[in-house]
Symmetry: C2
Subunit: 343 residues, 2 copies
């Protein structure tokens, strides 16, 4: 591949690894519908955020939701789907129930060539779903019933898969269900022991609020590559200014890729700072999955030895695809888009 080898990935033997990236996250089916601001207000939904709901609330809210479309989702799962669409070798660990939605989740990710072998739960709560309300401004408001995905535990971590992945990518949302947190820590330990890298996305500003101390500890000691948007990184360090947040994160992990919606992204590594423009598209339809696919493009570039600037551009290209249609998974093969833009 063209591009400069990235020095901080030198310790990782990409060539000898089975997977470029292993994602660990909540295994969720998205239920996507249009809604207007009045609906959000009437139902007390926090616009733009991801809120956890219980089974009864999910049922109640679904009954009030408009006609919807179902699509496999989940933050880290979307990233791995994107990586696969770019031509990368991905694996995913996450928990579904052995029900129809669980079958849909497994089918969709496996159909992309992703290794997904986590045993489904055979009792208990059904497969997780995320009710996504997309408003006319293309903003998405997410209400998640974690269901079976909350039962992911350390026993589900396939050590061989973690050892075999150049990067283990974890979503911050995993901090919500307690057993997944242990799974997360187990995976990070195995990854590092095998000389691999650990990446984390902070997921959501409210999620950062819920787990700030844990996330700071992770970023300072356990995470090599951090993804966060502006709201999340400001929430992590409880500062009002993006540049202040940037100074805080600098030096804590090898690479931080901070996304800023239409303002593009900033990638920091030691003394390197790259400011990368967003890719303009004719119409933003639905921002669901923008961050997930940014991470897909970035990590694909990284594991292919591209420069950090190129990694950021790949992220921007993939994010632009995600927001040009409803749903978080890519509709156009991302490899084609990246090839057209970057060669």
């Amino acid at each position: 591949m063209a591009g400069n080898p990235v020095n901080f990935i030198n310790g990782t033997q990409i060539e000898g690894r089975r997977f470029d990236v292993l994602g660990i996250g909540n295994a969720i089916v998205d239920v996507i519908a249009h809604a207007d601001d009045d609906f959000l207000e009437t139902n007390g939904l926090t616009k733009g955020a991801m809120t956890l709901i219980d089974a009864a609330t999910a049922e109640d809210l679904y009954a009030r939701m408009g006609a919807a479309v179902e699509s496999s989702g989940g933050s880290a799962a979307n990233t791995i789907a994107g990586l696969s669409s770019l031509g990368g070798r991905g694996a995913f660990i996450g928990k579904v129930r052995n029900d129809q939605l669980g079958g849909i989740f497994a089918h969709d990710i496996q159909a992309l060539g992703v290794d997904f072998a986590t045993a489904p739960a055979i009792e208990g709560a059904p497969t997780a779903r995320c009710l996504i309300f997309v408003t006319a401004d293309a903003q998405r408001t997410m209400q998640t019933f974690l269901g079976a995905s909350a039962t992911l535990g350390s026993a589900d971590i396939d050590s061989a898969a973690v050892r075999g992945a150049a990067v283990t990518y974890l979503e911050g949302y995993l901090w919500d269900p307690p057993p997944a947190k242990e799974a997360f820590e187990k995976a990070a330990t195995i990854a590092h022991a095998a000389g691999n890298m650990v990446a984390l996305t902070l997921s959501d500003a409210f999620c950062v609020d819920r787990h700030r101390a844990d996330f700071r500890r992770l970023v300072e000691g356990h995470v090599d590559i951090l993804f966060a948007n502006e709201a999340e990184i400001k929430s992590l360090y409880q500062v009002d200014d993006f540049d202040d947040a940037l100074q805080h994160v600098r030096g804590h992990c090898q690479v931080a890729a901070l996304t800023r919606s239409e303002k593009g992204s900033v990638v920091i590594s030691g003394d390197e700072v790259h400011v990368i423009d967003a890719v303009r598209i004719p119409q933003v339809v639905d921002t669901t999955g923008a961050g997930d696919l940014y991470a897909a493009g970035f990590l694909f570039g990284l594991t292919r030895g591209r420069s950090l600037h190129d990694c950021g551009r790949m992220g921007a290209i993939c994010a632009a695809e995600a927001i040009s249609h409803y749903g978080a998974r890519p509709e156009t093969p991302l490899a084609d888009l990246v090839r057209q833009a970057l060669g």
Copy 2:
């Protein structure tokens, strides 16, 4: 409402009716994915057609299908969804199983304000699904596992709903599962006894092949409003020429609306013949649902007393919306589109 009252609907008291249109059809969830022509050939799929498959074939084919999106479907159900999006009062009768896909089907149609009260099956085959392969030419190839929808029987026909609907609309696909055929005949009899109209869509040229004698008998004696595309009407009369088919159907039913894809449609009623242009759109994405939404627009116009020419134009507007995106159900409120175009 503006427009000429249509004489053949005079016998029907629209004003006193609870519903404009009651649809009866297979209750299906669509599973939609991209595919290329090689995939169709390798798997022996007949491009553009609807083929029935059994549970094992459905499972096998799904395993080979790409990552998909799920959306409520079913031909008559799509028509009623479209009618509702136009502001019409719709009802639907069809059979799901009490499983997750059945819940999705019921939610989506009820969320549109459609009356859907058919009791779900509590045992037996799961909710029907239609695996839809969309090729780059926007053609859709459908493989349907009828599942629970095949158990719709005359006991499921809500006589009061049929009496309360100005038009009872039946899909030809219903002829495939034998118990539904009886349900179909029961509904037609009740509708006519109540002074209401019966509409039929021939659904698919291969479906016409399977049931030609029955469909001819129906068209000649029981159907007031017939919908068919060019291939279907030519198959019904086993003629090679559209104009020959048109001459055959003339006089058999009060109204025939014959659709011809990009060539628009021809509406015939006695001596009236209206040739209606297709509505041009920038890009045809997926033709799934084109005929279903044409019928929605047409029937909405009819039950609102619009001229046959206007009914055809409404059909064309709704069909154009359907083919401009993936999936059969409207994404844009159809009432807005019709208002902009016709006032």
